[in-house]
């Protein structure tokens, strides 16, 4: 009898270690849908990257690697041919074929989808055979495979059987709460806003690196609660850790902090088109920011190292252009920020006939970027050194974008994370002359316009030769930097916290990839 108990206890003990671990993690935002095509936002796409897969995926260093496609090559005349992986099954057991890719293209590029912009250059998708598919683009598109890592493939038969052929944004359908992907994990429980449960998919085509048997995600909105949950061992990992807690947390026993930099560049933006200033004492005065010397004076006055040292507590990297060094197409030659030079800035203002300075309004979000309001306050006090008196108006992000869209600012704070991880992305959205029909410059609130940048953009988009493309990207970046179209300040840090026994990989897009997690 005793021996039997002993044996069963032993079996149990062995069983637990062989079966791996339950992993619980928390983040501030709950992915609002389980539909990979309904919303183009990092919390949704990051979460669903564990469940769904694209033709390509990003590795630990953000490089593009084969996923559902094993290889791909450009087609003459524009487009790409993808050779699909054979023997892949969806979570419900149905086979993955080219039909599913075509279906996912139609679904993800439909008007009801939020991801249609990824396919702006695609004119047609053609099924060649069960495991070959052609994506035809109107002109050569060298970065297409790089830009579709988040285009996730959904089972066409499953979607049709459950009436989820199109994504639903303001209503609910089967795909809002259920999934059927090919990824390493499958969704086994979903209570929106409460708990989402994932389990490893036994039939996954890849080799599992993780040892998770059950993964539970809980959104925890209050950062202090999340930190307490990590410290007390109620969760194994939290994202993000508040900057002010990072230091303390890294010294706490049983817990460690992972630090990296995100893809997001934080910058100041100007009104390039406005006739007059709109806020503070000098409202009505001709807009001084149309003068490049004034913009340069701002760039020279903002003391980025000081901001990083104090407000970001040494956790961020300075930025000199619209993308961070980790992105493809970053211009190495332009890596230097304008030196902090108050006297030089004063001289520039005097040259522009504004030696006495002026007052204006600075708009800033207070819940969008890490310590955004504090950064703006620092900028205000720095600009005061050269007589530029900014009146700060900080607000929640839900009020912020409408204000910027209505041109209600004299200067503003913006963060930009290129979805394609390529330097072309911010040029298209932030520097190209706004043009709704061509989907250009949709976040270029200030209306910056430079004919050479506009001319270079389509050439960059279709240039196949890497060196030529980089030369054009460098030229664009140089113009944008010389014109001081924006004042890039720093690359936002990424701070995660985990229990000591957790090994994980932190990717600059802030995606948390479960299959790289090991519980020791």
């Amino acid at each position: 009898m005793l021996r039997l108990t002993l044996v069963s206890a032993l079996v149990c003990a062995l069983g637990t270690s062989a079966f791996g671990e339950t992993f619980r993690w928390a983040s501030t935002t709950d992915p609002q849908t389980m539909d990979p095509h309904a919303v183009n936002s990092a919390p949704v796409l990051g979460f669903l990257n564990n469940v769904y897969e694209g033709l390509v995926r990003r590795g630990k260093d953000m490089s593009v690697e084969p996923a559902l496609a094993t290889r791909w090559e450009p087609i003459d005349g524009g487009g790409w041919r993808f050779h699909l992986r054979q023997g892949v099954t969806f979570h419900d057991g149905s086979d993955f074929t080219a039909e599913d890719v075509l279906f996912s293209y139609l679904r993800a590029s439909s008007e009801a989808s939020d991801t249609a912009s990824w396919f702006a250059s695609v004119s047609e998708v053609v099924v060649v055979d069960d495991f070959t598919i052609d994506v035809i683009t109107s002109s050569p598109n060298p970065i297409f495979p790089d830009s579709i890592a988040n285009w996730m493939i959904m089972d066409s038969g499953w979607a049709a059987a459950n009436g989820a052929e199109l994504p639903a944004k303001d209503s609910e359908n089967h795909a809002t709460l259920n999934t059927n992907g090919t990824g390493a994990f499958m969704l086994t429980g979903r209570q929106p806003g409460l708990k989402t449960v994932l389990e490893p998919f036994g039939g996954w085509w890849g080799d599992a690196e993780h040892n998770i048997t059950l993964a539970k995600f809980t959104p925890i909105q209050n950062p202090a609660t999340a930190v307490a949950a990590l410290l007390s061992g109620d969760v194994e990992m939290i994202n993000p850790v508040p900057i002010q807690d990072a230091e303390r947390l890294s010294q706490s026993p049983g817990v460690k902090v992972f630090q990296g930099i995100e893809a997001r560049v934080i910058m100041l933006g100007f009104p390039h088109e406005a006739e007059v200033l709109k806020y503070a004492d000098d409202a009505g005065m001709p807009n001084p920011f149309t003068d490049v010397r004034v913009r340069e004076a701002v760039a020279k006055t903002v003391n980025v190292p000081a901001i990083l040292r104090t407000i970001m507590r040494g956790n961020a990297e300075p930025a000199s252009q619209l993308v961070s060094p980790a992105m493809r197409g970053y211009s190495v030659a332009l890596a230097a920020r304008p030196a902090h030079d108050v006297d030089g800035a004063k001289a520039l203002l005097a040259e522009a006939g504004l030696a006495d300075g002026f007052s204006f309004g600075l708009k800033c979000p207070n819940d969008r970027y890490l310590n955004d309001e504090a950064v703006c306050q620092a900028v205000v006090s720095m600009l005061a050194q050269i007589g530029l008196n900014a009146e700060l108006d900080a607000m929640p992000v839900r009020n912020y974008w409408p204000e910027l869209r209505n041109d209600n600012y004299d200067m503003y704070l913006l963060g930009w994370s290129p979805g394609t991880f390529d330097a072309e992305h911010p040029i298209r959205f932030l520097a190209a002359t706004p043009d709704a029909d061509k989907r250009l410059g949709s976040w270029n609130f200030g209306g910056f316009s430079n004919s050479r940048v506009d001319e270079l953009l389509p050439m960059i988009q279709s240039e196949v030769d890497y060196a030529k493309r980089q030369a054009m990207l460098d030229e664009s970046a140089k113009i944008i930097q010389d014109e001081h179209a924006y004042v890039p300040m720093y690359v936002q840090p990424l701070i995660w916290g985990a229990r000591e026994n957790i090994e994980l990989t932190q990717r600059p897009d802030n995606f948390f990839i479960l299959r790289w997690v090991t519980v020791n």
Partner: protein, 325 residues
């Protein structure tokens, strides 16, 4: 009698409509829901299309009318954030809030009455002075701070209780309950104390002052003179007579326990309607905000209506006034 009741009900409806109007007119200052629904690669055309789809391009009066006529049929629309019917979401979340409110209400009443009686009887004891001093802390510290302190002490330092959430829940019909599992019960302790502490101290101080009043009455002295035991005097004679005002206050406080669970729910990530509401504000989820505010005002209006009608039944003077006006 009937005229009085009808008038009170009519008043209640006017209050509800006014609350709806104020709430609805404030939503335009909460922000633009569109930005949370579309990604960064959206175009102006996408924004315009979604705005039309949601009816946000229509005049305020029409939006308000649509909301009212929907609400009258029990249809609160679809959440902008989750894309699911608001009534489904709220009925999923309500059990968490109601269970928390029930437990903290119970905690407040039992401990409040107990400590109130104790501090009244042992008026000058060290223990009751200590309790009275500590109760000041309960009244004056803000709820979120109490919550964080409790989490820090009992979860992080002592590792006795969970720091967040509801533990495991069991579905009983449509009701998800945490009463039937150990982790569910354990998870209730800290949030219930946090939420009920203010009410507890309120009830305790009320019971104490009422008790002190009653203990001075002649019939208590007479009861003592009759040689009744101290326990009988205190609990059968004195406490019974202090309970009338206590019950009134407790009834009214029940509404605020539910309504003010928002902060406690945020600190403990308690998945109730309060947390839902905070999230809805963050993401400008207008249908959820509107439904929550309407439900809370319905609750308060109903409680007040019931209290009014009870007074009417109890107090004959109201009946005379009701006839003369």
């Amino acid at each position: 009698m009937l005229a009085y009741v009808i008038r009170r009900v009519f008043h209640s409806i006017v209050v509800l409509l006014a609350v709806g109007l104020v709430a609805f007119s404030m939503f335009r200052f909460v922000g633009d829901p569109i930005d949370n629904m579309l990604g960064q690669e959206r175009t102006q055309a996408d924004i315009d299309r979604l705005r039309t789809q949601l009816g946000l391009d229509q005049p305020f009066a029409i939006q308000y009318w649509k909301f009212l006529s929907g609400a009258a049929e029990g249809n609160f629309g679809v959440s902008y954030r989750q894309g699911r019917p608001v009534s489904d979401i709220i009925s999923e979340r309500a059990p968490a809030t109601l269970e928390l409110a029930a437990v903290s209400g119970l905690f407040a009443i039992l401990l409040g009455i107990g400590l109130g009686v104790f501090t009244a009887i042992r008026r000058n004891g060290i223990a009751s002075n200590l309790i009275m001093t500590l109760s000041l802390v309960g009244v004056s510290l803000p709820t979120f701070l109490i919550g964080i302190l409790l989490i820090y002490v009992f979860s992080v330092e002592l590792d006795m209780l969970p720091s967040f959430g509801r533990g495991e829940t069991v579905m009983v019909g449509y009701w998800s309950t945490g009463f039937l599992t150990k982790s569910g019960l354990v998870a209730l302790i800290l949030p219930a104390i946090t939420l009920g502490l203010y009410q507890m101290t309120l009830i305790m101080r009320l019971v104490r002052s009422e008790m002190l009043e009653v203990l001075r009455q002649d019939y208590i002295r007479f009861a003592r003179a009759r040689g009744l035991r101290e326990r009988v005097v205190n609990f059968r004679h004195a406490l019974k007579n202090t309970l009338v005002p206590v019950i009134t206050v407790t009834g009214l406080q029940l509404g605020s326990i539910i309504a003010f669970a928002i902060i406690t729910e945020t600190v403990f990530q308690w998945p109730g309607v309060g947390l839902l509401f905070i999230n809805a504000i963050h993401f400008v989820d207008i249908p959820v905000m509107a439904a929550y505010l309407m439900l809370i005002s319905v609750m308060f209006v109903t409680i007040n209506l019931v209290v009014d009608l009870l007074y009417f039944a109890i107090d004959p003077r109201l009946r005379v006034d009701g006839r003369s006006t």
